[in-house]
Symmetry: C2
């Protein structure tokens, strides 16, 4: 078996497990979002600001992936939601097996929102289905407008692009209009929200998107906030 065949087999095994995960998430009515972006795009800060602003008693949880350290889990745990760190110990992406293993017990408690922060990497995480409802690509205004053209895979697969760190626009030579046009060139239907975790800009729109997306999830006809705590 050559490398391409092995890669195909690994992806097909992953896809099979991801399909089972998706079924379990659907059964539990959990909206699952997979955040992908370069190292330093601001994924963790974005999730911090999100947790801070969620309606009280929202049954949300976070899985955060990194090659090493528990740093992101420690940052995210401050907001009172259950958070688990996935240390990939060298692997450049999360896979369905890691998610499945770390979800242990959460779904049975009626989780409504599951945020997955992938390893900082614009390439490899794109190929691994985690059973999510949507991939969200996070890019920042310090990265260059042509990132969607250079890394088309993730921009093609993402339902939403977060253009982050817009508070830095006065200090960097970045044309936000061009970046958005490039993203739409790759994926005409992509939705785009511009945000700043420093000023809070864009978070009202993001939380509206999140509420609407949760509503679209069939089983989430149930209210987002209920009494059963997830721990």
């Amino acid at each position: 078996m050559n490398r391409v065949e092995i890669e195909k087999r690994v992806l097909s095994e992953n896809d099979a497990l991801a399909a089972r995960l998706r079924e379990a998430l659907n059964g539990a009515g959990t909206l699952c979002l997979n955040f992908i972006g370069a190292p330093g795009a601001g994924k963790t800060a974005f999730l911090e600001r999100t947790l801070e602003r969620l309606p009280i008693h929202t049954r949300a949880a976070v899985l955060t992936g990194d090659i090493q350290t528990e740093n992101d889990a420690i940052r995210l745990q401050r907001y009172g939601y259950p958070v688990r760190q996935i240390c990939t110990a060298g692997a450049c992406h999360l896979d369905a097996r890691m998610v499945d293993k770390h979800l242990d017990g959460w779904l049975s408690k009626g989780l409504r929102l599951l945020f997955i922060e992938n390893v900082g990497n614009l390439v490899c995480p794109t190929s691994y289905d985690l059973g999510e409802d949507a991939k969200i690509v996070v890019m920042s205004v310090t990265e260059g407008e042509d990132k969607p053209l250079k890394y088309p895979g993730i921009f093609r697969k993402a339902e939403l692009m977060i253009l982050n760190k817009i508070d830095l626009l006065p200090h960097v030579p970045f044309n936000a209009e061009l970046a958005c046009a490039n993203a739409r060139h790759i994926h005409p239907q992509i939705e785009i929200i511009e945000t700043s975790c420093t000023t809070g800009a864009g978070f009202d729109r993001w939380l509206e998107w999140l509420a609407a997306r949760a509503k679209r999830k069939k089983a989430s006809a149930k209210p987002l906030a209920e009494a059963v705590p997830v721990s």
Copy 2:
């Protein structure tokens, strides 16, 4: 053969080709530097400022890797040095085979400096030897101080860390001292140069490093600038 075995075989095939490449580069007296960093760390801008400031007639050339687009080659070609784009068409890293293929004809012309800009990715490129004399990791002050702890592989293997975009320090909550301490925690001997491609800060020190490193390369007792053009 399972995935780990295949991965090992691919890496060992790569290592064998990289060893042959290294021999060829040594024979030609070419100093080869492999730049690795996240998407948006500023690798291309750093190479632009470097080419702009090289002593006239320096026999330098650039291989620049991306998944898609020739954008970086177009940017780099403006400085009068030979530049070739390596499009990986999906692959998340450069390998020795790609470098070997794109070097075609350069070494026989007495190339003194070969800059390789890897695909924007802090993880996968680390594992692939390209026959280089040194890996250089580029991180920017917009990325968070704990990147060396989260992505230890590349910081362990890099001889030099470029801490880029220091002109943005007044606008971001980044502690440069802590970032450097983290890098040295992973790799006590790592050299660090702080740079800004906007203001030119740090480039005198970087060009001194480059000249010293070229001098250390045995065969580069020959002067860096000679009459034979590389095209």
